[in-house]
Amino acid sequence: MLDSRILLKSLNDLEVRIMLCKSAFEWELLAKKYVDVESNIKDFFKKKKIPENFATALDTLRASLVQKKGELPPVDLSDFFK
């Protein structure tokens, strides 16, 4: 029970940090953290169904990450074409 609370807290913390995120670099770090937390949650509940509050928190977090990426300045593709 204690572990699941920690996981939920880390999701909440991530949400706050996403709100404050201002650069693409920061966003990438947060995206990695999100992927880590998501896999931790899946591992924690293993084959059981992920509780609704966790699933909702994960969905919200992913949506806000996507939203934030869209709000940040468009990715510079000039290096990509070199």
């Binding site: 992913r62 990450l65 996507v66 990426k69 869209g70 990715v75 593709l77 990509f80 074409f81 070199k82």
Partner: protein
Amino acid sequence: MGLIKAVADAVMEKAKHEVKDYLIKFMEEEKEKEKKTEEIKKEEIPAAVLKESVKAEELKEEDDEDEDEDEDEEILPLIESEFTKFTYKVKPKDFTIPGELADIIKMLPVEEFACFVKLMIFVFEQKKNFGYIGNTLRRKIGLESFENEKFDKTVENLEKYGVLKVEQVSDNQKTFILYVPFDEETMVKAEYQKPEKTQQKKVEKKPVKKGDEEEKPVEKQNDQQDDIPGKAVFGMENDDLYKSYRTFVSLEIDKAKMRVGRSNFDKIYMEAVKYIDKKYGFKVLSDSEKFKEYLTNYYISAFDIPTFETWKKTKV
């Protein structure tokens, strides 16, 4: 005897006086002569000084006139250059100025020289000798200290010297091609045929609507999957034509960015992010290289940029 001696003494005495008088007179005459020569010299010196100062003023005026003439004078080209758009095959390790070019640019005035070298370093960094002219370029090459007009003038002068070519692509857009001697070993020509005007107009007329953008890529996704510039295509990595296509796409995206405006482009980008997340998952979104691939593909669809196959046909 006594009388003769007295007469002789008298004669001698008189002769002495006469000689003395003569010497005094001679001395006075000499003094007068010296005075006169000094006076003449004094009179001559101010005249000479005056003459010299007049001459100097005249020379100065001539110089000023020359400078004015220089400013107004037309700049003659240093070379009759052929401008070739190129990209570097691989970014060279060291920044070098070919001897042939060094001989030409050493003749440039300081500001033009500095601007040219800065542009050349920029060209070297971005691996292509062409791009847009504007404030971004001015900032990128570190010429913020130049005011817009001064920068424009310098670029104009570089064009007159024949080391840079400026092209007016639209009312507000200018592009440049920097003259760098073409080296087949390290460079690839990036010339391409412009897409037909009708096609361009079609793109311009299209209003940017969210719905359209979301639907279009879905329809075209499969067709264009292999045409993503930058995506490794088997056997095409070293294909010059494919490299030219990538440059073409890059330029078309830049053009579209200018055409739709910053805010619209940001909206399109936002839609692209949502679309990629929905279609390919969050992993693609968080992987910067993959994301760039899919974003390019999205832009190709959204801005009606010809696919590689279509583009190749127009090229051939």
